[in-house]
């Protein structure tokens, strides 16, 4: 018991010292959106903010995430986004950094349309479906018009 006490005390002190002097990262929040079939083009964006003594006056850096993801997927949509909000503590917690990471998949517009149209469980009218509906209605109108002419 005495031996244990002599070990545990210094161990706790050393661990606390280590954790306060080094950069330790803690996760604050996690969120995940619907994941698409097409997962061959992963995209990732990170925003970082350094905070001194807890003085933080805005969280506007988070908006950059959307812009960063958009530039990586100019011809499609980013879906299946996993967002992780983290805090990294430095030097006795006097300084800390906030990192927000968003990881998703860039899905081409064509794939989005095909993917959504193939699933009869979706509510949204996909561009592909809308095109088919439009073609069908055009043909119907044309055949009706042809009938009138005849």
């Amino acid at each position: 018991m005495v031996i244990m006490k002599s070990f545990v005390g210094p161990l706790i002190v050393l661990s606390l010292l280590f954790s306060t002097m080094n950069a330790c990262t803690y996760t604050a929040a996690v969120s995940q959106t619907n994941i698409p079939i097409q997962r061959n083009k992963p995209v990732e964006a990170t925003v970082h903010k350094f905070i001194f003594l807890g003085f933080n006056f805005d969280n506007d850096e988070v908006y950059q995430l959307v812009e960063k993801l958009k530039t990586q997927c100019p011809d499609g949509q980013v879906r299946g986004i996993l967002t992780q909000d983290m805090r990294t503590m430095y030097l006795l917690f006097f300084f800390w950094a906030r990192d927000t990471v968003a990881k998703g998949y860039c899905v081409s517009s064509k794939a989005v349309a095909t993917n959504d149209a193939d699933f009869n469980v979706d509510t949204e009218q996909s561009p592909a479906r809308a095109e088919i509906d439009y073609k069908e209605s055009t043909l119907k109108l044309q055949s009706e018009a042809d009938g009138v002419v005849k």
Binding site: I12, S15, L16, F18, S19, T20, N22, C24, T25, Y26, T27, A28, A29, V30, S31, Q32, T33, N34, I35, P36, I37, R39, G80, L82, Q84, M86, K103, N115, D118, F119, N120, V121, D122, T123
Partner: protein, 112 residues
Amino acid sequence: MMKVIKQAGGALFLACMLQGCMTVASISVSQIPVAAARKHKISASASNVTVLLIPFGSSFPERARGDLLSQCQGGKIEGLLSKHQVTDYFLGLFFVNEVVMEGYCLHNQAKG
């Protein structure tokens, strides 16, 4: 009487130390598909431990997602519930960060 109260208090304290007290840190829910499509339920979880304020990695959300994806190859995942929880042991000297994800794997109807 006091002895019984002390023992009960001690037992409760010990139970909390060993079992761990949980806190939900964040939750997210995405669009849920129609009832007919809620057939193939999948779930995954991953965790990272922190001992005496020293965290051993923070990759648990990605590992949970990777596990979820492996359960739904060739399909898309909807109705995703993600729950990030923290379990404290020994008055917070040791805690576990865990994310639990569950959702529905939807396969293309045309392909069966």
